[in-house]
């Protein structure tokens, strides 16, 4: 499950259109300064060489270099607010702040769209809004692994 739950890079078109356009050249992975984009390895002729991001390993920081360089526009050059990679979901039963144990705020502080994608309810409790583009940073930094990013490619 975790292996297949990868995200496409920011600005990726809907999955089917993305695959039809991706040239598998790996330029997005090469310009990624955070080394979060990996090319799909293996021989699967439908996936091999396409870019993927596993947020638990390395999340996307929405620098948007990859979508700027993509030669075939499989990654559209859009502003970071429209990156539409996925949606983060917060499990309040695991979150230490919501459970009332400690004040954590890791996800809120690290969110690239701070105070838009994650807001603090009553100044304390993190809530993920519909501005979230699913970069996976909050999932990566959450000490409780309370956040899971659901890729947009699962939504048809």
């Amino acid at each position: 499950m975790l292996r297949s739950r990868f995200l496409r890079p920011p600005g990726a078109r809907p999955e089917e259109e993305f695959l039809a356009r991706c040239l598998q050249c790996g330029q997005c992975a090469q310009v990624c300064i955070f080394e979060c984009i990996r090319m799909h390895t293996g021989f699967n002729p439908f996936l091999s060489g396409t870019p993927e991001i596993a947020p638990r390993r390395a999340p996307c920081f929405l620098c948007m270099r990859c979508s700027a360089i993509c030669p075939s526009d499989a990654l559209e050059d859009v502003p970071r607010e429209e990156a539409r990679m996925g949606f983060a979901r917060l499990d309040r039963d695991k979150c230490t702040t919501w459970r009332g144990l400690i004040i954590c705020r890791s996800c809120f502080e690290r969110c690239p769209l701070k105070a838009a994608a994650i807001v603090l309810e009553r100044g304390l409790y993190p809530v993920i809004t519909d501005k979230c583009v699913g970069c996976g940073v909050c999932e990566h930094v959450c000490p409780q692994k309370a956040i899971v990013t659901i890729p947009t490619r699962f939504v048809t």
Partner: protein, 282 residues
């Protein structure tokens, strides 16, 4: 000292390109992004390059062509239209491996006192695979599957996987293919399968004034059973019978021209017709 011939320069370019695609992923790993990409799409600073077949596939599928891909594919196709399929003989790293294995097979055959047999071009097999792959992608698939049959792309991808992701790819086994070619004594992939070369060949056939190997029968001093030019051809084509059937497969590598240079100089490069008209004095 003898001046280095065309084969020296060709090998130099081939080894240079093969080495470059080992170094480029390393540089990118160090975040030096001047050269990025692989043999499917490449970018040298501001200059985009692209595999014309990959571009053709996604253009037909999406009815969309970005400026980068248009320029990149136009450069590659323009080169093929002007100079023939020199990509295969001068640039393709798989072509280099295949030629080296072919050289070894020739030496082995020579030790046993056999000469290389003449072979047909195999273009029909290639063309069938090409059409099936293209149609299959357009009708059934979402991914340009012919890209997975690109040997140069796999060559560059192996090093992208290894140096950028630390992943030892099983695709290394594809490098066993030259060993198979060595055992069978012919260039299987380039002759019968490579779908990328089909498009380049089709484009080169559109331009009758492209660079070709010319044969002047009056100057040829090798009587029929002796044919050093055919022995030199890594695809086992016969340069003396240059016609459209042979010319489709000819990559303009120049090995036959180099060999003939030390004999009758009957073979030479020239733009346009195959037959060299000695009487007209050109």
């Amino acid at each position: 000292m003898r001046r280095p011939g065309i084969k020296f320069w060709r090998r130099l370019v081939q080894f240079g390109v093969a080495a470059a695609f080992v170094v480029i992923p390393l540089l990118n790993h160090l975040h030096i992004n001047v050269l990025t990409g692989n043999f499917l799409a490449f970018r040298a600073g501001p200059l985009p390059l692209a595999d014309p077949l990959a571009v053709l596939q996604i253009t037909l599928k999406n009815f969309y062509l970005s400026a980068d891909l248009l320029i990149g594919a136009a450069i590659a196709l323009g080169l093929a239209a002007a100079l023939g399929t020199v990509f295969c003989s001068w640039i393709c790293p798989y072509g280099l491996l295949s030629e080296l294995s072919q050289d070894a097979a020739r030496r082995r055959a020579a030790r046993r006192g056999r000469s290389a047999p003449e072979r047909k071009t195999g273009f029909a097999v290639k063309l069938t695979l090409f059409v099936l792959g293209l149609a299959g992608f357009l009708v059934f698939s979402t991914t340009p599957v012919l890209n997975q049959l690109s040997m140069p792309a796999w060559y560059s991808r192996i090093f992208q996987f290894y140096f950028e992701q630390g992943h030892v790819s099983l695709a290394m086994v594809l490098l066993v293919l030259p060993a198979v070619e060595l055992a069978l004594g012919q260039r299987l992939w380039c002759r019968y399968f490579c779908p990328q070369s089909v498009l380049l060949m089709c484009v080169k056939l559109l331009n009758p004034a492209r660079l070709k190997v010319r044969f002047d029968a009056h100057r040829c001093i090798c009587a029929r059973p002796r044919d050093p030019c055919r022995q030199a051809c890594s695809l086992s084509l016969d340069p003396k019978t240059l016609g459209d059937a042979v010319d489709v497969a000819c990559n303009n590598c120049g090995d036959c021209v180099a060999v003939c240079k030390r004999r009758g100089r009957a073979l030479c490069f020239g733009f346009g017709s195959h037959k060299k008209n000695s009487a007209a004095g050109n």
